[in-house]
Every structure is written in structure tokens, then in C-alpha cells.
Symmetry: C4
Subunit: 274 residues, 4 copies
């Protein structure tokens, strides 16, 4: 019994150590683990990309395939380890990162039966977003949070904005379908809407272009709308960012947070700034 308990304890402590390495990032070991993972992700995504180039596949396909499987096995072991080591297994599996971790391995196994899915492994790149944690880029995380807050604060305005864009695009796409018609490539309303989106966003592939004079007039209008209208969300986001941004130096005397960055004295209580 005593032996068993000791073993349990030792087991627990090993478990604890591994849990720290995999889930934390403030010990040398866990940082090393993260950095290795980082390169593994980058390398595996590069290999998948190269493998999709036919010329390279014909020549080095075998080697690339081996490397891919090597990384898949590593990531599978890592995934299993993460499940085994997490305290609330269910929570990890169903969390965003848990799903991404799973989706980063499954396509390899599917590719044993069907051709193609292995390319979906590029989704592993999303794991790279953990780079922020790895490199302890707290300031980056903070910036990301400010961005997030600003976007969230302006979400109502942005939804209104996209509601309007959507309506414009549907009405315009329909008009063009009626004016230009299948003879000029506008074979259906959805295709007309696709054209309207290509136009209003100023992408302008040129795979569908207005041929008739009326069509070109409507297009011109739509382009000018798109050109003018992009200013609105830009303004929205700018204003939000300006508001959520810390305004400047904080006075140690009166706590005023609104002093200019280059102020020498607090502009409210006159206390010298540090």
C-alpha cells in the first residue's frame, strides 16, 4: 500500500511537471517545449504547402510524405498528452484550442482513405497564434485586447454598415442580372451579387464586367459608392481606437490620466510628472 502511494505521488509529480511543460510557459522547460512546437508547426505547414506543388510532389513526394507523417504523429502524441494531462478533459477538448489541435491531426488519417484532406493541415497555422504566449509577448496580447475592445465597441455600427452593404449588393446584383443578362456572363442573381461584391470592395477581378452602357453607368455608381463608403467603417474604428487608448501619462499626485505624453506637469494639479 505504501509503495503504491509513493508511486502515485511520484506519478503525480511527473504528471504535474509535464502538465507545466505543456500548458504553462514560465519555466525554461515549458518555454523550450513551446519553441520546439513553434518550429514544428512552421515546418509542417511549409512541407504541406510544398507537397501541393505538383513538380515538387513528383520529385520529393515520398520524403515530404514521411516528414508529414512524422509531424502528424508528434502532434497526435501532443494532443493525447494534452487530454491526459488537463484537469478538465472535457473542457479542453471542447475549447477552441482543443478543436484546432484535433483538426490539426485528423486530416492526415483521413488522407489514408481519400486524396486531398491532408492539405487541410495548413489549419495548423492557427496554432501559431500561440506564438504570442510562447514569446511572452504580453504587450502584443494587450494590443490585441485593445483592438478587440475597439472592434466590439463598434460592432453595432459595423453591423448596421454591413446590413446596408448587403442590401446594396443584392439590389445591384439583381439589376445587373436583368440589364446585362446571361449573354454577358451574368447568368444568375447570385452571380450578379458576386459581381457586385467584387466591385463594391474595389477588388475588380474583371472576370465579369459590364458591357452595356446602362450596365457601365450602374457599375460606375457602385464603384463610387464602394469608394466613398469604405470611409465610414474606417472612421468608426479610428474613433473607437482613439477612445479605448490610454490617453497618456498618469499623474502620481491627483491620478489624472489625461496628461499629454510629453507633459512636464500634470495639467490638472500642477504636480511635476515623472
Amino acid at each position: 500500500m505504501a509503495v503504491q502511494r509513493t508511486m502515485d505521488k511520484k506519478d503525480l509529480s511527473t504528471r504535474e511537471k509535464w502538465r507545466e511543460i505543456i500548458f504553462e510557459s514560465h519555466t525554461p522547460d515549458s518555454r523550450l517545449f513551446d519553441v520546439i512546437l513553434l518550429y514544428a508547426i512552421l515546418l509542417s505547414v511549409a512541407v504541406i504547402m510544398l507537397d501541393s506543388v505538383e513538380k515538387i510532389d513528383l520529385r520529393y513526394g515520398h520524403i515530404l510524405s514521411v516528414i508529414e507523417w512524422f509531424f502528424t504523429i508528434i502532434f497526435t502524441i501532443e494532443y493525447v498528452a494534452r487530454i491526459a494531462l488537463s484537469e478538465d478533459k472535457r473542457k479542453y477538448i471542447l475549447s477552441g484550442w482543443g478543436i484546432i489541435d484535433l483538426v490539426s491531426t485528423i486530416p492526415s488519417y483521413l488522407s489514408l482513405f481519400v486524396h486531398g484532406p491532408q492539405y487541410l493541415l495548413t489549419i495548423r497555422i492557427l496554432r501559431l497564434l500561440r506564438i504570442f504566449r510562447v514569446l511572452r509577448l504580453n504587450s502584443y496580447l494587450k494590443e490585441a485586447r485593445i483592438l478587440g475592445t475597439a472592434l466590439k465597441a463598434s460592432s453595432a455600427k459595423i453591423i448596421v454598415f454591413f446590413g446596408v452593404i448587403l442590401s446594396v449588393v443584392i439590389v445591384m446584383g439583381t439589376l445587373m442580372y436583368l440589364i446585362e443578362g446571361p449573354a454577358h456572363g451574368f447568368t444568375s442573381i447570385p452571380r450578379g451579387i458576386y459581381w457586385a461584391i467584387v466591385t463594391i470592395t474595389t477588388v475588380g477581378y474583371g472576370d465579369l464586367t459590364p458591357i452595356t452602357v446602362v450596365g457601365q453607368m450602374i457599375s460606375s455608381l457602385l464603384m463610387l459608392i464602394g469608394y466613398a463608403v469604405i470611409t465610414v467603417p474606417t472612421g468608426i474604428v479610428s474613433v473607437e481606437l482613439a477612445q479605448h487608448k490610454p490617453k497618456g501619462a498618469v499623474c502620481t499626485e491627483c491620478g489624472n490620466r489625461e496628461n499629454d505624453i510629453d507633459a512636464l506637469f500634470c495639467k490638472h494639479c500642477g504636480h511635476p510628472m515623472e
Copy 2:
């Protein structure tokens, strides 16, 4: 006489109830009505879109046509009911929403005689903008109003801006017509203007492109103008938005409206913020 009066009263109260359901949105019934309408609009627009795809039309055209007529009849009944129930019928009919409601049904009847107009029914999507009312998204309405105020406040600047753009586009379109000429696709000045709009808005379809060296130089200039010039309305709108935006928390003591959102004390009177 008394019976007649009672009937009138009952009639009036039914009328009143229906008026509430259709025009208001703060009772459960009226909200239900709005939500049903919402799905009806979305579904009917989707059906019209699908119907315009030839493959789908060939196979399911009959069913889609039946669904379309079902919705048209519903919307027609709704339109008639709205007229019957509104107090100032003339005002409703001539209002923006009244016209959209009408235009959302007419094309179906026209399509009995001519092919095509039924697709115009996608204009029903504009009715979706009522979604804001349905879902009592007051904050969205407020945002839309701020946007509207900011745009209105900057309308003078924006008109000046588009006046300049228009002049540039006409002069550039003429130049390209003379330089490139019909041989390179610039068959007329209006077509040259169409090209100039495609270029200055950075859409760049590529259906008309400069071939001569001089034409390419003028195009390059126009692109840089367009690239630089978009900054102006963006700046205008940003500044207006910044100005029309409530600046921050209002102090209950001194009424100062300029406190930062995260301020603990009013920055003018020192009163604690709530």
C-alpha cells in the same frame, strides 16, 4: 342604432388591435408578426435568387414559382392591410416604406405579362432594414443615427470632394479617348470616363487598359491620385464621427461631459463618477 354603435366599437377595437400588431412592435403579438415577416422576406428573396439560376429553375422552377406566388400574395395582403389600417392612408402610401412595400409585390403581377420583372422582387431585402425595429435594437438605431448625423455634417465637404473627382474623371476620360482611341477600346468619351472611374476607385477590372506609353503614364498618375485622394473623405468622416460621438461619462455633480470612460473621479470637480 345602439347595436350598430357596439359593432362599430368592436370593429374599431379589432382594427386597433391589428393596427398595433402590424405597425407597432412592443406587444408579443406584434413582435411575433414582425419575426414571421422577417423570415418571409428572407425566404422569398432566397427563392427569387435560386429561381434565377438556370439549372435550378429547370428542375425546381415549378415549386419555386408556387412559393414565390405564395409570398407575393402574403405581402399583397399585408400591403392592403397596412393601407386599410393606417390612419393617414395617403401618408403611408407615399412614404418610403409604403413605396418599398408596393414595389415588393408589383413585379410578380407584371411577370404574368413580361418575363423578368419578378427578379426585381429582391428589392424586398430593403424591408429587412426593419429588422432593427423588430429586434428592438435601439442601440443599433442610435448608432445608425450617429452615422447619419456625421455623414450629414460632412455632406458639404463630401460634395466638394465628389465635384473634384467628377471633374478629374471627365478630363482624364477625354484625354484617354484622344490618346488611346477606339483601336484600344476607348471608343467614346463616356467609355473613357467609365475607365477613369474604374481606375480612380482602384477597382481596375482590366477590361479597358492603356496600351500606349503616354496612356500608361496618365493612368499611373490617375491611380496615384485615386490612392492619395481616398484619404480625404476618410479623414472627413473620422473627424465628424469623433465629434458627434459622446465624449465620455457625464459627471452627476457638475455636468461635465468630457470625462474619460474609465475615469474614477470627474476631472473638473473631483466628484466620484458612478
Copy 3:
């Protein structure tokens, strides 16, 4: 002698009256003159545009030609009258508007000898900018002035910005000429630069596109640069506009110009705002 003097006086007063009509805009007569001129400009530009469309020219060319000459003669008379009536003739002739007035008539006469120049008459559209004066749109003029001041204030930053863009475009254009070469359409460095401008401004005609892998990588980089870099002048102009904009309501008591638009009391002296 007395008669002569009276005639002179009468002559002078007629002259004076006409001078007022043509150059001023605050009497009913002069406003009427401006409005007629406005429609004359719009009509004549429309006629020139239509005339450039071959189909229309073939059918209505004769009529359009007559109308064009009618307007040319009117504008010529107007130009001569402006010279005759202006006090400092030299100054008017050499002024911006004087040159535009002249260039708005000359091409017609040139077209008697050569084909083509009459289309340059669309430059008359620039005269439309006088619309601001005609319609006494003082607020528009003021806005235009604010825009002008903001752009002038940021001109140094904008020149630095375009200097950098120019360098990037020349270096990238050269690289693509070397990498893609004449076989892929990059026949010379100037053509490579044209491509780089088309790309960095996100116009993207598609008349020249990278075919090689290295070329596509460089293009991707250039696109991302263009996409990121547009933010800079936008920011510059926004900030300038924000600074040159009147900050808000002026207090009648203390003259503080910085009150919020919706302020009830002056935020510095507490005087109620009007």
C-alpha cells in the same frame, strides 16, 4: 464736350452694370447670368460626350456639331466680354480662370483644321467649379478651404510619403523586369514601374501579372505594402483635419472655443452656452 462726357458716363454705367452681371453674383441679373452659364456648360459638355459616341455621331452628328458651335460662339463672346470688362485685363487673361475660359473655346477653332481637339472642350467642366460661387455656397467654399489648409499643412508628410512610394515602385519595377522579363510582358523597366503602380495602388488591372513563383512572391509583398501603406496618408489627413476643424461652440463670455457642440455650459467659465 458735355454730350461726350454724358455718353462716357452712360457708357461707363452700362459697362459697370455688365461687369457686375458677369463678375459678381449678388444681384438678380448676375445670378441669372451665372445660372444660364451653368446650364450652358453642362449641356455643352454633354453634347461633346455624345458626339464622341460613334453611333450617335453618325446619326445626329450634324445637329450636335451645330449645338457645339453655338456654345463655342457663346463662350467666345463671354470670354471677349470678360476681357473687355475686367479692369486689369492682363491679370484676368493670365489668371487660372482666364486660362480655363480660353482653353474652353480654342479647341473648337482648332478642330476646323485637325480632327480631335474639339473633345478637349470637356475641360469646360472645370468651369463648373464656379457653381460654388453661383449658388452662393459659402459653406462649401469654407469647407473647401478647410480641406485645402489641412492638405497644405500635411504636404510635407505627403511628399515624404510619395518619395518613399516612388522609390519602392522603381526598385520593384526593375526587379520584376529582371525576374519576369519580356516573355511575360514586362518588356522594359518603365513598364515594370507601371505594373508596380497598378499593384501598389491595389488597382490591379491584370494586363500584366507575375507568372513565375518568385515574381508572385514579390508581388504579394508589394500588395501587402500597398495595403498597409495607404493607412499612413489617411492617418495624416485625418489628424490634420481634426486639428484645423473649429473645435466647437464658442463661449460668448470668455471666448473659449473648445466647448463640445452639445455643451450646455462653457467648460471653462461656466457661462451658459447659447
Copy 4:
């Protein structure tokens, strides 16, 4: 010995004078040197560009070649002189400008053995950035510094932003490779990523376009993302620029730096502004 020393001294003073001419810009001689260099750079870049146009090369190739060599020799002499005259030779050679100076001459010599490298001489245009120094455009330098500071301050946000863009582009490129496939031009994942960058930046060449319905839906989404997302860095840069910009006139009495540019009195102490 005495003679030797005198010679040394004279030598030193000549050296000193040349050093001043080449490296400084506040004496008439050194400014003249810089202006000549300026025109030499502009001319030599123009010559290289013209030389790359086949038609011009065939006709004037010999003359252009002579001019190119003339400039190359001048720049080589200048480079050698700069090394000889600089106090810390190693530092100059390894500095940014030193490397650009070297790269501005080497390709000419390489072109004796291989065809092509001479075109790389357009990199000389980078030397033009010295124009700011030459023309003593201090205000430009200051603006450039403000821009630099603002960009540096927002670099963390911008890196987060480009990290997200990169992930989106890789995932979208993979999806399109799987959906559209080689038959529609999406021959590999890297090519899909190239397409995604062309689309998200709204360049839209149109060399690769989605053909399938699903592909067009994904494209539409990507375009809207690109269209919406450009607002974010714009907002970031605007806010930074607004913050790093001097806020207004400084009061000589109380040192308040926040007065409006057009203020007549300091808004905090009431002292008249100068």
C-alpha cells in the same frame, strides 16, 4: 621632417575640406556637390530605364551605354573617396548608406560578364532619399521622424494585425486549392495563397478567379474581410499620429502645451498667446 609634417598638415587640411564637401551639407561647396550628385542620380536612373526599352536600346544603346559608364565611374570614384575620407572606414562601409553606395556601382561591372545586372542600378534611386539632407529640408525630416515614431509605436498592433492576415490567407488559399483545384488554375497551395493575397488586398488582377459557386462564396467573404479589415490599421496609425503630433501652441507663461493653434489666450492661465 619639418617638410614632411607641413605636407601632412596641408594634406590633412585638403582631406578635411573634401571630407566636409562630401559628408556635410552646410557649406556652399558641399551643397553644390550634393546638388550635382542629385542630378547625376536622377539622370543615371533615367538612362538605365530608357536603356531597358528595346526600341530605344536598338537605336541609342551605344550612347546610353557610354553615359551609364560615365556615371558608374563617377559613383565609383565617389564611393572610393567616401571610404578614403571617412574616419571610421569600417563603419561607413557596413552602414546602410555605405552598402547602397556600393550596390549602386557593382552591377555595372558585373554586366561586363553577364547580361542584366546593370538594370539593378535603379537602386541608385534610394540615394535620392539623401535629397532631404541636401535641400536642408529639416521640416521634412521632422515629419519623417513623426511618421517613424507613430509607426514604431503602433508596430505591436500592426504585427498582430499581419499575423491574423497571414493566417487567414493561408487557410483561405488552402480551401480554394481544394475547392477550385488545378483545373481552374489553383495548381498548388502557394498559388492559392497568392490568390488570397491578391483578393484580400483588393488588388484583384483576375489572373486567378473562382469558377465554382462555393469558390465564389468564399471569395466574396474574403473580399468583405479585406474591405472591412483595412480599417483597422488605418485607425491604429491615425490614433498614433494624433498622439505623437504636437497638440498646439505652447503658452510662454504657464507652459500649457494644449492650446488650439488659433487660440488668442492660453486656455489655462489666460496669458495672451504669441
